[in-house]
């Protein structure tokens, strides 16, 4: 059984003040085995992030199915699962990294990662230890640990964002343009980090701004035009 299977998925947006419904995407099909990486490609506005946000239920899907093989609940349709169950999956099974860091104000980098673990029920000691390990792993320098992320560079914020999502050891990770707006050096670091996730057995759906970058990392690619899975290296 696949870890994730998206079938006939579609999403539109009703904009009340324009009295209009905007079709965003439709007829999306792809599937993913445990441990596989899939990259979604397509031009800006083609609905790549809409897919990720719908898997995470930040958007309410309106057609099709998003079947996920959960450790806790078995096979579930993420587009219809109860809110409380989705909250559980977000806490323990599915991670999401956006381009933006949106965290509690005036909370240190170290505390943010620690809190994530405390919320999962880890002990204080364990959470502290794991947090430090994660920050080291994602190459955030110890001198940053006790400062507030508001002052961080783009690359540092991103690495903190990835650290917060992966410290939970999610089975499925959703990654939305992790390298947009990063310089070459930071990109290489992020690539190494994603490679590490892969060797740890994480399953991943990612949107990568940099096609070359994606091709190195992903097992397969989903192209928004003409809406199908394509092999690596195929020109779209």
């Amino acid at each position: 059984m696949s870890m994730l299977e998206v079938t006939g998925f579609g999403k539109s947006f009703t904009i009340h003040h324009l009295d209009k419904t905007m079709p965003a995407i439709k007829d999306i099909h792809f599937s993913l085995e445990a441990g596989e990486f899939i990259g979604i490609v397509g031009k800006s506005g083609s609905g790549k992030s809409t897919i990720l946000k719908s898997i995470y239920r930040t958007y309410l899907p309106d057609a099709g199915k998003i079947l996920y093989d959960s450790e806790k609940y078995g096979l579930v349709d993420l587009s219809r699962i109860a809110e409380r169950q989705m909250l559980y999956l977000r806490k323990f099974e599915i991670g999401y990294v956006s381009q933006f860091l949106n965290v509690m104000p005036r909370t240190t980098c170290r505390q943010l990662v620690t809190n994530t673990l405390l919320e999962m029920g880890e002990t204080e000691d364990m959470a502290q230890r794991e947090a430090e390990k994660a920050l080291t792993h994602f190459e955030l320098e110890p001198k940053l640990w006790d400062s507030y992320p508001k002052t961080f560079s783009g690359g540092e914020k991103l690495r903190l964002n990835i650290a917060m999502a992966t410290v939970k050891k999610p089975r499925l990770l959703l990654l939305d343009e992790p390298t947009a707006s990063l310089d070459q050096h930071s990109k290489i670091k992020v690539r190494e980090i994603i490679e590490k996730l892969k060797s740890n057995g994480t399953t991943l759906v990612g949107i990568f701004h940099d096609i070359e970058f994606m091709e190195v990392l992903c097992d397969k690619v989903y192209d928004m035009h003409p809406r199908r899975e394509v092999g690596i290296g195929v020109e779209s």
Partner: protein, 279 residues
């Protein structure tokens, strides 16, 4: 997963005024917003149902006059409901509609099972008692009789909310708004309630103090597993705190969902306007 909510509210109504032949048929939609132009009755809360689960923070957003605070006052028994039911999932109250209990029984629930933090600390604190005295008052109501224990608890709570202990004997009226709010939170927590109501607790506080209070609320959720209903008109506050959110307009819940979903993919016209207005 069949999870029983710790607080379950069904079809809660609260109206101010008698209603008249013009407005009692609510389906007929004779109201101007939630106000009857014929008899002046205000339908402050209309058919509200919600579930609060153990350990979660439920956000309630909506504009001024949407019924958020009236809802909280009904839940905390500050005012009687016009109709509706609520049940609390603790052993001694199983199956009871708590709105139907005697005022004595309601007081017992407030003393043992509920905590409330009002927007205005004047409503939650005795401004002419000492800060630690305020906490002791709530502890006595909850059944404490030992002074040494109460003092120890009071000190621990005040330390938790970062009130310096050398000021614990001072009256809250000497304190800044943020300090008063923190004393109020300490008092609300003193009976170790499974359910805490927070009504616009950060409204009117400066950003720095707001950050403190937000952090404190999250810490309470993390460390104590207390379930909370957080009312705010500030979407940024709700985004930081709430797992799930309901949106109220003219006394009704018009939309509910996971907080990020309500904010990023709002379905109702009003919620969309609200989100577009976010700075």
């Amino acid at each position: 997963m069949d999870e029983t909510p710790i607080l379950q509210v069904r079809n809660l109504h609260k109206q101010f005024g008698p209603g008249c032949s013009h407005c009692t048929d609510l389906d007929a939609d004779h109201l101007e917003k939630n106000f009857c132009t014929s008899c002046g009755t205000v339908y402050a809360v209309r058919d509200v149902s919600l579930d609060l689960y153990a350990g979660e923070i439920l956000g309630v957003v909506g504009e001024s006059g949407s019924g958020k605070s009236t809802l909280m006052q009904c839940l905390y028994f500050d005012t009687d409901v016009t109709a509706g039911a609520a049940s609390i999932n603790v052993p001694h109250l199983a199956g009871e509609n708590v709105f139907g209990l005697s005022s004595q029984q309601k007081r017992a629930i407030r003393n043992h099972d509920f905590g409330m933090v009002y927007q205005n600390p004047i409503h939650g604190l005795k401004m002419d008692f000492s800060s630690i005295g305020n906490i002791a008052e709530k502890l006595i109501a909850a059944g404490s009789r030992r002074v040494d224990e109460m003092e120890a608890t009071g000190k621990r709570l005040l330390e938790n909310v970062q009130i310096p202990l050398h000021r614990m004997k001072e009256e809250p009226r000497n304190f800044s708004g943020g300090m008063q709010q923190r004393v109020q939170i300490a008092k609300a927590l003193s009976n170790n309630p499974p359910i805490l109501f927070l009504d616009e607790v950060t409204t009117g506080l400066d950003l720095s103090v707001q950050a403190n209070v937000l952090d404190l609320i999250k810490k309470i959720q993390r460390d104590l597993g207390i379930s909370m209903v957080v009312v705010s008109h500030d979407l940024a506050v709700i985004r930081m705190l709430a797992d799930r959110t309901v949106v109220m307009l003219n006394g009704e819940i018009i939309e509910q969902g996971l907080t990020d979903q309500v904010l990023e993919d709002p379905q109702h016209h009003y919620t969309q306007q609200l989100v577009y207005s976010l700075l």
